[in-house]
């Protein structure tokens, strides 16, 4: 069994409207050995991947795939399911897959959804090895393989917080484009784009972040506006720390001036020795030490997004409970074996750590790391452990308004405000509670997957903040597809749209145009070029020429369009051998039509019966163009109140709602535009139809068609550019 090649279809494609890998797999001799003919194969496979039992497959219920295995299915199909399962186990919850025979015996196309290209490819390879090992009854270190897949996942998948934001965006139909292999994501397209990087947005001020980093400064600013904070100050050395503790009044907290995640923080210190010792721990973090009043109560994290509290979590003490048998060290190791705990940022609980602070805390409870606590005896390791319990609904409105003010004062649009209070349901002032810290780029996991209480839609809150209802998130797109006549349509379309004083970016076989400038020459009909336009903060709208061959090789570069034009499906016979088969070619041509927005328009050539067939895939409005109003199909369409662009009595006309409006004499158009490469009369019809479908009114169109041409020299780039880059060859999806 061999994987012959893998195509990365990074946008909507002939299989699905989201990214998939299309692997061409030669299963070789297994073509003669479906699963039910290999003794023990199914059992070994399911023993390694018991979760395959969940797969529905074509049966449509859990266990469906196992049924197919028992009945006998081919290795291409099995590889599809195994690859999907392996990706899920590595952290990418993908579901979609297809396996299809090709015209070559034993060669299959195995299609699997992916989130991370690297993980998808690796999972295919591990899947292949796994199938072979199961078939030949050979040993396989699955744990090691899964481990390396997980590692790839950790490195290349979105973190849980970013994922929740991206998913929220997708559920609102907002495109998400990854800008690097970490968590930098562009939401929305062109001039409407926003950026996020984990829980930071492009509205997160770096000055505010610097302020939040400086605890002492933050506290001064908060105190000034009346947010309760623990009194305290920076200290110069250990003795000064003790002096400060006495000024403030014990117990106190000693912590580094700028550090995150509770590192180096010691709390509830009352005597000189523990203050001196805590100073040493805090000083080791560098950047100075702060001593402040110890605020009694529980640690809370209040998430503020755009002046609203959207979630709150409560932290509980980290502790182990004795069993009279194991030492604290052993109890900690046992607790760390729990599935909720681990280093991964995908897990809600971090591992318990016996650090200096824990040791100090244990000592105060009369324990060392090797002592064996009595059965049922609780030993506290850290007073402020992971934030695990959702308490959003309990937050008192006064507390919420203090947290919002704290975020606003620091200047953060998204902030994690740390509040210590006995009861988050009462005003802070009434219980001596305080805001102890304001964090930029707060972790969202605790709110998305709390250990107790309901998850909170923090991703939605962030997306709503970035894209308030009514604010556009996408630029309008016209896609021109078909086997012939695309480039001419695109060029004339650009001319027509310019007449409406709107500047559209163009990616076509004649180059890439942005802001009246040709930014790249040559054929730019590929997905990557379309994506370049969507990434540009200057693009107000785009016209994309779509080459079906490119769709087959890499999918579409956009995930929705307003107008999809299909010029023709004709005269492609010469290319059939390259494309493979006619059915795939038609699907590829159709791809833009499949992603027309419900309020968009499909523009189809009425003179090509095969193109007309595609109308059933169109979710939006339908506009035909054809050389004669006598075309019966076109006529029928008009009779049903449809719209069309055609020719009548030497005039180019728009027929719609029973009216026929002449725009311009056909002779004139031909005379004016025939110098264009690839200009034909149908080109003019398709371009006018697209422009009209796009919303240009008849008057504008009429004068645009009649206007003399402006000829402008466009600057061409001089520095040779690299065609693709790893960061940008990532996904576009709805």
């Amino acid at each position: 069994m061999e994987i012959l090649r893998v195509l990365v279809l990074s946008g909507p494609n002939i299989w699905a409207n989201f990214p998939v890998l299309e692997a061409t797999v030669d299963i070789g001799r297994f073509e003669d050995h479906p699963s039910n003919t290999l003794a023990g194969f199914n059992e070994r496979l399911v023993a390694w991947l018991p979760t395959l039992a969940e797969h529905h497959c074509s049966v449509g219920a859990p266990g469906g795939f196992l049924e197919r295995l028992r009945d006998g299915t081919y290795f291409g199909h099995i590889l599809e399911h195994v690859t999907i399962e392996l990706q899920s186990l590595a952290g990418a919850p993908v579901e979609f897959g297809r396996a299809r025979e090709t015209s070559r015996r034993g060669v299959y196309r195995v299609v699997v959804e992916y989130e991370s290209e690297a993980l998808g490819r690796a999972a295919l390879e591990v899947g292949r090895q796994l199938l072979l090992a199961a078939a030949y009854n050979e040993p396989l270190d699955l744990e090691a393989q899964l481990g390396s897949l997980r590692e790839i996942g950790e490195r290349t998948l979105l973190g849980p917080g970013t994922r929740s934001i991206v998913n929220a965006a997708k559920s609102r139909g907002i495109a998400a484009l990854r800008l690097n292999d970490r968590n930098l994501v562009q939401l929305g397209t062109g001039i409407h784009q926003r950026r996020i990087w984990t829980a930071e947005t492009d509205a997160t001020s770096s000055v505010a972040e610097a302020i939040a980093q400086d605890k002492q400064l933050t506290r001064c600013l908060l105190r000034q506006v009346g947010v309760p904070v623990p009194e305290g100050r920076t200290v110069s050395d250990a003795e000064d720390a003790w002096a400060a503790a006495q000024e403030i009044g014990v117990p106190v907290v000693v912590k580094p001036r700028s550090a995150n995640h509770g590192r180096g923080v010691s709390i509830e210190l009352s005597d000189r020795d523990s203050v001196l010792c805590a100073h040493e721990i805090a000083a080791a973090e560098g950047a100075g030490v702060v001593v402040e009043r110890y605020v009694r109560g529980l640690q809370h994290r209040v998430l503020v997004v755009n002046r609203k509290v959207v979630a709150a979590a409560r932290g509980d003490a980290e502790l182990v409970t004795g069993d009279g048998v194991h030492s604290i060290e052993e109890l900690v190791a046992m607790e760390n074996g729990e599935p909720l705990r681990g280093e991964s940022d995908q897990l809600p609980l971090g591992p318990l750590v016996l650090d200096d602070i824990a040791l100090e805390m244990m000592e105060r409870q009369g324990h060392t790391r090797t002592s064996v606590p009595d059965s049922g005896r609780r030993v506290v390791l850290h007073l402020n452990g992971d934030l695990t319990a959702d308490v959003t609904d309990a937050v008192h409105p006064m507390v919420a308004s203090r947290c919002v003010l704290a975020a606003e004062t620091v200047g953060l649009d998204i902030a994690g405000v740390d509040v210590v209070a006995e009861d988050i349901g009462r005003p802070l002032e009434a219980q001596g509670g305080a805001v102890v810290e304001v964090n930029a780029s707060p972790a969202l996991l605790m709110h998305i997957r709390p250990v107790s209480g309901p998850p909170r839609p923090v991703g939605d809150a962030i997306v709503d903040a970035l894209f308030p209802q009514g604010k556009p998130a996408r630029i309008p797109i016209i896609a021109v597809s078909g086997t012939t006549g695309r480039a001419g349509t695109v060029e004339l379309l650009k001319v027509l749209l310019e007449a409406s004083r709107r500047s559209y970016a163009v990616a076509s076989s004649r180059g890439l145009f942005l802001r009246e400038r040709r930014i790249a020459e040559g054929d730019r009909t590929d997905a990557f070029s379309a994506r370049r336009i969507l990434l540009s903060p200057f693009a107000e709208g785009a016209i994309f020429e779509v080459d079906p061959q490119g769709v087959l090789e890499s999918g579409l570069g956009f995930h929705q369009c307003d107008v999809a034009v299909i010029t023709s499906l004709r005269s492609a016979s010469a290319r059939h051998s390259r494309v493979g088969d006619r059915d795939r070619e038609i699907k590829a041509v159709r791809a833009p039509l499949d992603v027309v927005l419900p309020n968009g328009t499909g523009v189809l050539c009425a003179d090509d019966p095969e193109v007309c067939e595609l109308s059933r895939y169109n979710r939006g409005r339908l506009v035909y163009f054809g050389q004669s109003l006598d075309n019966p199909l076109l006529r029928a369409h008009l009779d049903q109140q449809g719209a069309a662009v055609s020719i009548e009595r030497g005039q180019l006309v728009i027929a719609s709602g029973g009216h026929i409006r002449p725009l311009c004499a056909v002779d004139g158009i031909t005379k004016r535009h025939r110098h264009r490469r690839g200009f034909r009369l149908l080109t003019a019809l398709s371009a006018v139809a697209a422009a009209w479908a796009f919303g240009l009114n008849e008057d504008v169109l009429s004068s645009a068609l009649a206007a003399p041409e402006s000829t402008r020299e466009l600057l061409a780039p001089s520095v040779p550019e690299r065609r693709s880059s790893p960061e940008l060859s990532s996904t576009v999806r709805p």
Partner: protein, 870 residues
Amino acid sequence: MSLNLHSLRALRGPNRWADVAMIELRVGWRQAGPDEVDERLLELVSELAERGVDAERDRPVPGGCTDVSAWLLARVIAALQSTTGVGVDRMAIGATRDRLIRRIAVEYHEEAVARAAVHLALDWVDHPATVKLDLARRLEELEGLSLRRQLGPSTQAIVDAARRRRIYACRLNEGNLVQLGQGARLRRIWASETSACGAIAETIAQDKELTKTLLSAAGIPVPSGLVVSHASAAWSAALEVGLPVVVKPRDGNQGRGVSVNLDTRSAVITACERALTEGDEALVEHYIAGDDHRLLVVGNRLIAAARREPPCIVGDGEHTVFELVAIANEDPRRGEDHATVLSKLLLDDLAREVLTEQHLGPDDIPLPGQVVRLRHNANLSTGGSAVDVTDEVHPEVAARAVEAARIVGLDVSGIDIVASDITRPLEVSGGAVVEVNAAPGLRMHLSPSIGRPRDVGAAIIDSLFPNGDDGRIPIVAVTGTNGKTTTVRCIANLLRNGGRRVGLATTEGIFVDDDLVDSGDCSGPNSARAVLAHPEVEAAVLETARGGILREGLGFDWCDVAVVTNIGAGDHLGLSDVETVRELVDVKSTVLRRLMPGGVAVLNAEDPLVVDLAATCRGSVIYFARHADAPALVEHLSSGGQAIYCDEGTIWMAEGRRRRPLALAAELPSTHGARVGFQLQNLMAAAAAGWALRVPDAVLRQGLLSFSGASVVAPARFEVVEHQGRTFIFDYGHNADALRALVEAVDCWPSLHRSIVYTAAGDRRDEDILEQARIIGDHFDRVYLYEDQCRRGRSEGAVVGLMREGLALAGRVRQVIHGSGERAVIEQALGDTAPGELLLCQVDQVASALGWIDDWLVAHGGARLRPRAA
């Protein structure tokens, strides 16, 4: 002879002396007086003169020859500060009650420097010989202190630009963090980074490879490059991107670890190893021949451009490279830090390598005219220089720079472009954008080595505050002897009714709408600053007491409305060297001096001293008066001015001859049916302030009508409680004017018998306490006296003794009762009061006293005045 320093304080805002920050010291002369020339100070002056600092020239002693020595001291303090390179020149001398003590005020830029300068001057006078030996070091320390404390040149340029546009600027830490604008409209800058600079944009700019990917996607020419994490991969990467190459750390700045124009395998590998000491990954980039340019983009405009030249020396055929570097470094423009036009040339390892490439060593003597490079890159911090080329940049190049900034997402950015000719498009010259920098240094544009300086500070301010926006919120400052608290509360109420979120600083605390932000006496400059730093505040109402002005100056730079309720005979005279009412007027006039052009002064037409202040203010005036015939009012109206006054029970808003009614005095709850005259005055002052801020009439009226009850009106500001036939009035006034106003109001309550609980504040002058006692004695039958917290420095029994003395001279009083402690006396007085009688309680510790009073009322079958505190 030596000097005694009695006090030293920094007046951080506009103050009684000047509109700039001043250091104020109180100094006592021991033997010779301040009028005589101090030889030692003269000696210091000549010592400084030897160092090129002139402490005497061009500075005639004002007003003849008095206070010669005091003036000399002031000049020395100014001159010492000036040695750090920041000149100061405002100074003033003030007398005190003591013939040998002077107040000396000297302008400053950095408080710490000013304090150190004062101590240096005084030390000199004490021990001239010792200090003289040490003078050079102490002056150096002063300079070092100044460098450490002063804003960096980039920040300073932005702050200066803000001040020129009257945008409020307030430093928030010892570093370069500055608040610009106020309240809900505030912005911040930290060095050249503004609060509009995105954290993500900054991170993108840090990642050069990502930046280039994004730029190139948008069609901006960038050099092709590859990231390597090991030196062994560098050469193949170099071949792929095309020789020659540049090698640099992937996440570096300031040009550390950068090597350029490499075309041999060994050079590439060595350079890569060096780059990798600065980070985990190095960038191998195609080398683009041409000059380094830095284009500063602010918003969507190119503001400045500089061609940066790497540090070099020119041979003279005589000196070695080593000597030439030393000679160049003697140039005073070359400093150790970022504050100077040029930095010192370095002859470090990197420089030696560059020399080796030129076949030179440090001890070789270059030929005459030979240009020897010490670096390949042109960073100012390693001794490079900058030539302004702003006017030469081709518009297409500028367009690419602006696009690059926008793509990365930075509001202020430095775009590095390598091009052989910046006057031609990059596409033509083969140039490219090589880097986009967040928080770019502005020094090379502010003071280029050659060419015209560019006002980049102004550009940044224009982008933060576009379209002439000054980032200000309306500020009302209220000063005066009595009635300030009620007036500010009422103004806050009016503005809130007008839909604004109001920040209020009073003697009772700081409030933002109903939220208590801070408690205690908040009528000083810190509190004003706190209100202006609150990100939700849309209008500020600031009680501005005399104490704060004297102690620290004003906490705001300009106000839109300045209200002076009254001055009368003054209060707190004899404190803080304010001996006479005239001087008090001077202090209060600080507020009027800081009225914005176009602002409005709201002045009491019935107080002649207040009327006098009208002359000092540059805005317009709205007068208020309880009577239509106040002369200042009549005159003002006749010349078309605005006023609010009361006539026949109606409050009128008048402008010239026209007037319209605002409300009936009797329908305003806080005047108790027009009986409390001074409340009426406060309300009119407040209404005038509202009028000045264009609050609509209907809102003004509604605001006055809704201004009642202890929760809205200030607590213990003439609170009247009817309790089982008895009338209790609680108030807080502590001076003769307040008492006169009070008894005038009390006269409107018919009662057979009147008692008063009173204590005078011990920090007032004897004559003032006697006067207060006399007023009380003339109007009350029974007087309860106590001493408590308010002794303020006097010995036990002293205040009561004075009061008794004064009461003895008065007419009406028949019984004087002396109790111990505020609470006991108030409770006794409440209990003693019979039905039909009136008791006026002058509370001192307002919050706690009102608590006990509430408890007493409840215990005696009454209702609480206010809800129990949480």
